[in-house]
Amino acid sequence: MSAPNDELLVMGATIQGFAQACVNLHIVAGRQTEGLVHDIDMMGMYPFERLRALERLVLHAYAHSAAILERVGMAMMLGWYHFGPGKQIVKTGADFLRFQSGSQGYASVVKGPENLVGFFRLVDLDERAGLAHVHSTTPFEKNLERGVLIGGMSAPADLDYIEVVNAEDPHHFRIEFH
């Protein structure tokens, strides 16, 4: 995890989404996260450190946090789809990958110096084969980001199978979907 940098900003909706997912999943950090986000406006931009503070709550609370953060990421995107604008924006799992790599996706929720913001690039997408490759250098925790991909792709409910693997290189997500 890199050092806090107030130049890197994240949209309030992302912070709120993380906190709400923690609450919905009844994980230990749930009640604490509520206290940390009471002043967050959904459309406002906040230092990325605010989101990292929430991530740290989970990391400190769980000895094996990878599965927890993945589930938080999934829950964030299911919330975004069912209770946010998601349903209007994406109709299929593959749509989510295109949306996320477009200007309205990741690029709209994190702002700041290019080297800190990084990118979320859809390197390859073969819908017939059900394969995709995403290269991500975003500042998000990579287990959380894997959950975001799984949750975002499964939310439209058109896919029977989704597997996202980044074990070899955390920044490269190999996706299989059918």
Partner: protein, 326 residues
């Protein structure tokens, strides 16, 4: 039959005839279920691990808490012994003048009800103003005080010890009850306000054939030839106001009965929420006023225990009778 129709069934069909596309979908659906199950298992394993760790921490905290509780209980046991040791025994002079029966019980191991017997400084009698005769030896040289400190437990007990020290000092500096109580109030008011505590006070000085008293929130009654004379309760509690306390007098001759108590008994409630009340207490005492003070006290406690649903306050009840023939 399509895959969706198949999955809508509650029991498997006798003959299964799915298209190649549906079989393919079925394959991925099954794999998807397995994958979801794997993720769930990983999530719950992490959660269980966390829970296990939390229980271990909880066990450790409970162990520490038990140790701390045992230490506190031991300290409270000592504090109870100290507080009991601080309670007075009547002097021979008092016993020669009064029959005394006392019931004093703290709700917790230590508490805020407190009574004390004071002896007026010997030197005071010899420094009376010119022309004023010294009081007889057996009277005018002792006083009884009953206090009820707000709250319960250790803090109330410490305030009790603090007030005891102030009153002992006050007794050496003044003789009249209102002057003594005023001195104590002046000395304690800032501190008691700071710690948000106060105390009712009932201070009675015994003179031949009468008593002088200060009553700041306490309860007092004299039964004189069957007639009740209630203490005037117009004054404030100790530690609440800077206004001077007033002093009153009542006759108290041989054979007269006096009752001093805190609010523990009158404010006790029965199961229906009704107060015991002073009226019930005083009526009972009046009906048995000719008995020994110990017997009257025992009747009061029996009646109280039958009435009250639960004990909710410290209790002090003192019944005394002036000795001698009318």
């Amino acid at each position: 039959m399509t895959l969706d129709e198949l999955l809508a069934l509650t029991t498997p069909p006798e003959v299964l005839d799915l298209s190649q596309a549906d079989l393919k979908r079925f394959f991925w659906k099954l794999k998807g279920c397995h994958k979801a199950q794997e993720r769930d298992a990983a999530f719950w394993a992490a959660t269980n691990e966390n829970l296990k760790s939390a229980y271990e921490k909880l066990d450790e905290q409970e162990r520490k808490l038990s140790q701390a509780y045992a230490t506190i209980q031991a300290d409270l046991g000592v504090a109870h012994q100290i507080q009991t040791a601080l309670l007075p025994r009547p002097s021979r002079r008092m016993e020669s003048d009064l029959e005394i029966a006392v019931h004093h019980r703290q709700l917790e191991q230590v508490g805020g009800d407190y009574y004390d017997y004071f002896t007026v400084d010997e030197g005071r009698l010899s420094s009376l103003p010119p022309g004023e005769l010294p009081l007889p030896v057996q009277a005018g040289r002792y006083a009884i005080a009953v206090f009820d400190i707000s709250g319960h437990g250790v803090s109330a007990a410490l305030v009790m010890a603090y007030l005891k020290a102030l009153f002992t000092q006050g007794m050496s500096e003044a003789e009249e009850p209102h002057l003594i109580v005023n001195l104590v109030n002046e000395q304690c008011i800032a501190f008691l306000r700071k710690i948000k505590r106060y105390a009712s006070v009932n201070f009675v000085r015994f003179l031949p054939d009468r008593v002088q008293y200060v009553c700041g929130g306490g309860f007092g009654l004299i039964l004189r030839q069957g007639e009740p004379h209630h203490f005037t309760r117009r004054d404030h509690f100790l530690g609440l106001r800077e206004r001077p306390f007033r002093q009153y007098e009542l006759p108290f001759a041989a054979g007269d009965l006096m009752v001093l108590h805190t609010d523990g008994i009158p404010e006790a409630q029965d199961a229906a929420g009704a107060d015991y009340g002073t009226r019930r207490l005083y009526r009972l005492i009046g009906e048995h006023a000719n008995e020994r003070v110990e017997d009257i006290l025992a009747r009061c406690l029996d009646d109280y225990q039958r009435f009250r649903a639960v004990d909710v306050d410290d209790i002090t009840l003192i019944i005394l009778r002036r000795k001698g023939s009318r």
